[in-house]
């Protein structure tokens, strides 16, 4: 199982790295759209769709919306005179609002869950609200300042990936090595106070490194730190959100597309929250 997991990671990681760094913007848009389509295929099960036809239609809808956006707007027009395209801004705003709503739903769970649990349509819409803003966010970040420095946008994407993954990796290794004080022995026996600290420390290190790398002005460091911390927190929200829908639909892994890892959604759940929220903050305060 672990071997399978490592092999899959070793194949996918270089591919992802290459795509983020070197794919031309349009090809990158298409690739992310396809990943969102695969994610949608898995989401359709979580939304309670069972027929192959409706699942395919749903996946095609998500990938299609992304592709239509990609065809309608040439990549060099995504950012025009330092401003993000209004439609994209609009989508990101909706994405941000969706995550606030999602937080409320998770806090309230299982109260009110019957309202949306009954409705396949509503659960389908939640999937759109999760996946399409993610596509817009990733694409907007990738093409940010592209004409000045084609790698700038890639660095932003690595920054978000770094914050999210550092939290998990730091928590895992510090937890295994130094974990002693259990947080909630009954609920989740694996989690330790030391692990939580390790995650916090690792994310902080990435945020601090980024502050140096992007040479954030002293007066804006506060904002930079806040956005970073928010991204850490919100990535956990993405995880919780997916778990909630999986629990409703009674499934454990979102799919089996990635040998050893479960489904695509299991890999990108944190990112579907982290990217839209980070991009929204980046747009509002930092660009």
């Amino acid at each position: 199982m672990l071997k399978q997991r490592v092999i899959t990671a070793l194949i996918l990681a270089p591919l992802a790295l290459f795509a983020i760094l070197f794919l031309p913007p349009f090809a990158f848009e298409v690739m992310i759209a396809l990943i969102m389509g695969l994610g949608a295929w898995e989401w359709s099960s979580m939304a309670g769709m069972t027929r192959q036809v409706s699942k395919s239609a749903y996946a095609a809808l998500v990938a299609g919306v992304c592709l239509v956006l990609a065809f309608l707007l040439p990549t060099e027009m995504i950012w025009y005179q330092g401003q993000l395209n209004p439609l994209y801004t609009y989508v990101l705003t909706i994405g941000g609002i969706w995550w606030v709503a999602s937080l409320a739903m998770i806090i309230a769970y299982p109260k009110y869950s019957s309202v949306w649990f009954q409705s396949k349509v509503l659960r389908g819409i939640f999937g759109l609200l999760t996946l399409i803003p993610t596509w817009v966010a990733v694409v907007s970040l990738r093409t940010s300042l592209y004409d000045v420095d084609p790698f700038y946008g890639a660095s932003l994407i690595f920054y978000v990936l770094g914050i999210v993954w550092a939290a998990d990796i730091g928590a895992f290794f510090v937890g295994v090595k130094f974990g002693k004080h259990k947080l909630r022995p009954r609920v989740s026996p694996g989690k330790t106070f030391e692990g939580l600290m390790g995650g916090i420390f690792a994310s902080s290190a990435i945020i601090a490194f980024a502050a140096l790398h992007y040479q954030v002005e002293p007066s804006r460091i506060w904002l930079h730190v806040l956005v970073g911390a928010l991204t850490v927190g919100v990535s956990a929200l993405g995880d919780l959100n997916e778990s909630m829908f999986k629990r409703c639909a009674g499934i454990k892994d979102s799919g089996n597309l990635l040998p050893g890892h479960g489904g695509i959604m299991d890999r990108i759940d944190s990112l579907t929250a982290a990217f839209p929220v980070f991009a929204f903050c980046y747009l509002t305060w930092m660009a």
Binding site: I106, A108, L196, I200, S203, W222, L223, V225, A229, A236
Partner: protein, 450 residues
């Protein structure tokens, strides 16, 4: 070296005291609410000293003096026996948990009142805010405040000493205008002006708020008469004595102490001829100027200080009050420190105040050391300031801090059920990252300022 030890010593005393007070607040209310306290620790890490009382509470002083904690029985963490269930923190009504959590910061505020009360009973020597002069072309020059005017109010508040002025100026950072009133030196008339401070730039690394506004506090003038000669210094070798009035350096007459300083500083290890007036007689001395620093930064150094003229009558006065006035004054001052802390945090958030203003443990240690070296009373004032700050910071709605827990409890109060663990953990992550990074910025600032 001795300085560092003194600073660290004062720091441990100050912080240890404040942590003890804060945790005692949690501890006392927890006991009153019938919660079993397992450990009361001042400091983290390895216990240096510990003792148990009849309720089986362990009192610990631990090695790392940067905080402390009160460990209460909690079913979410410990295995709790059936009969102890009622004594577990997590089983208390949410209002009790709010009381226990809020008690720490509240006791910090009460402690500040107590300390300031003692300070006002003993009496604190301060200096009236009399303006020496306003620098030309500075932010305040438009206000036309005459030299020797006494400042009466800054913004909306009365000021009686320079410390007040300092606090009120800080609270106006980032504002557009500053209202000032003062009493004219001769006519005793009260005048006021509203100054445009949009262009006020304040860099805490470079200057004080006074410097950046062009405000020079009145100081008694310095004479050319030597007040002190250090042992084995260049001044002693040349033959200078206390009471000598310096008239000429290398034949050039000098009439201000500043001229003497700049002349000496520019000439390390050079011979100098000094004419002084000693016992009504002219004496000519000659010798080598000393040196401080090496290479490029080498500066001439003599090892003497001038005499200061005495402070004019009434400028130095003692804040001292009776029991009732002193208490009222202590409450008033604590409240002002609290509002000021909140205002400054707000400005940090909006960006009006740069994060360069954040200070960490090193700056606190220096402050503790400096204030302690000024005497017990100044140290009390410092304790009150840090106590209030500790209380306010702990009330910030950041998970990890007391304020974060209070936030969760308030949500629980409204919705009737605890905030889910998963959400709490997410909050801890956000709070933890923010806190860790703010602490790094603060410590970085401290080091940059050393």
């Amino acid at each position: 070296m001795l300085d560092i030890l003194w600073n660290i010593g004062s720091f441990i005393v100050a912080l240890g005291l404040l942590v003890a007070v804060h945790e005692w607040g949690h501890f006392w209310v927890a006991r009153r609410c019938g919660v079993k306290v397992e450990r009361f620790s001042i400091g983290f890490g390895k216990p240096l000293w510990s003792r148990r009382d009849k309720y089986n509470t362990e009192y610990v002083i631990a090695a790392i003096p940067l905080g402390g904690y009160v460990k209460m029985l909690d079913e979410r963490v410990d295995d709790v026996d059936e009969q102890d269930r009622g004594q577990a923190f997590n089983n208390q009504h949410v209002l009790k948990r709010i009381a226990i959590t809020a008690a720490g910061p509240i006791v910090n505020f009460l402690f500040a009142i107590l300390v300031l009360f003692i300070m006002y009973l003993i009496g604190l020597q301060t200096i009236k805010p009399v303006v020496g002069n306003i620098q030309e072309g500075s932010v305040l020059s438009a206000a036309a405040i005459p030299n020797n005017a006494t400042l009466m109010t800054v913004g909306k508040r009365k000021v009686v000493d320079w410390e007040d002025v300092n606090y009120e100026l800080m609270s106006h950072i980032g504002d557009n205008t500053l209202q000032l009133t003062w009493r004219e030196p001769d006519t005793e008339q009260i005048n006021s002006a509203s100054v445009d401070i949009k262009d006020w730039k304040f860099d805490p690394d470079q200057q004080t708020p006074f410097d950046s506004l062009g405000l020079v506090p009145f100081r008694p003038s310095i004479s050319n008469i030597i007040g002190y000669v250090a042992k084995k210094s260049a001044a002693e070798k040349i033959g200078l004595q206390v009471g000598d009035e310096i008239l000429r350096l290398d034949g050039t007459s000098v009439d201000k102490w500043e001229q003497i300083v700049s002349y000496v500083v520019a000439r390390p290890e050079q011979t100098i001829q000094i004419d002084v007036l000693r016992n009504m007689q002219n004496v000519r001395l000659e010798g080598l100027i000393g040196v401080k620093g090496e290479g490029e930064s080498a500066k001439g150094f003599m090892g003497f200080t001038p005499t200061f003229e005495p402070w004019p009558e009434g400028l130095v006065f003692t804040h001292q009050y009776g029991i009732i006035d002193g208490f009222a004054k202590a409450v008033d001052k604590t409240w002002r420190l609290m509002t000021l802390s909140v205002e400054m945090l707000g400005k940090l958030f909006t960006g009006d105040v740069s994060v360069k203003n954040l200070s960490g443990p090193i700056a606190i240690a220096q402050g503790a050391g400096t204030s302690a070296s000024y005497g017990f009373v100044a140290f009390l004032g410092f304790l009150a300031l840090i106590s209030v700050n500790l209380g306010i910071i702990n009330l910030l709605p950041l998970p990890v801090l007391d304020g974060g827990h209070l936030m969760y409890y308030l949500v629980e109060l409204v919705r009737g059920k605890p905030v889910p663990d998963a959400i709490q953990e997410t909050g801890f992550k956000i709070g933890g990252v923010l806190l860790l990074l703010l602490m790094s910025v603060a410590i970085f600032n401290d080091i940059a300022r050393l």
